[in-house]
Symmetry: C2
Subunit: 116 residues, 2 copies
Amino acid sequence: MNSLQIVEAPVDASCCVPSVKPALSADEAQQRALVFKALADPNRLRLLSIVKAGDSGESCVCDLTEPLDLGQPTVSHHLKILVEAGLLHREKRGTWAYYSLVPGALEQTAGLLESL
Amino acid sequence: MNSLQIVEAPVDASCCVPSVKPALSADEAQQRALVFKALADPNRLRLLSIVKAGDSGESCVCDLTEPLDLGQPTVSHHLKILVEAGLLHREKRGTWAYYSLVPGALEQTAGLLESL
DNA sequence: CACATAGATTGACATCCATCGATATAGGTG
DNA sequence: CACCTATATCGATGGATGTCAATCTATGTG
């Protein structure tokens, strides 16, 4: 570290150079693809939708199994993927596990698209 | 296939009922998942990014093969998936095929997320 | 027409993934 | 502790998917 030469405001970089954004690196692409992989399944989209639509803001697994017409282990599997993608939050209370949307996660993911 | 019943005027739903949006149907989910499937691969994300970053707004396959370090057939395959997802546009001029972003497609896809 | 080049298509192969049944874990209740 | 219920994990399996080499198609060019 070192040399704190000319601190010169970083200002301009963010405001005056609207153009040339370098294309996505392999690592960045890999990272972002993980989130979209989580969204790339109809049943997982429905899970997000149902959790979001619920008025309490959270749903337990037993409430999600029936509308999807899937077995309980399969639903748990999908929920795990959504949690690992940072889209859902899991909270265990007693015997039940409650899933809720991570605040801002969907909006942030949407931002990934526009900033490609 | 088919039977898209429930035509019923979309009128009021969009203006007077801000709350209760019914969760995604299986059909809607299936449809939307197709776009996210197209985005769920790092190399396809990079393709979109490179095409977008190009100053001419379009790129031909030969320009895309090298930066991805993939064979030409594989790149063609990925491009086809992006076109079918409605994200890229393909125009053939002479021997070359030029790919460009479909205007507004990324923004519209981002909208799918917020409106889940 | 003969040949070269850009790109698409095909077939094969390995890997990944969604789903299920069976089982494990953990909290609640008697 | 014995038992029930809610959820997670495991193992197997069939189907989807990414990649490549080989081939086909179409557009130029001599």
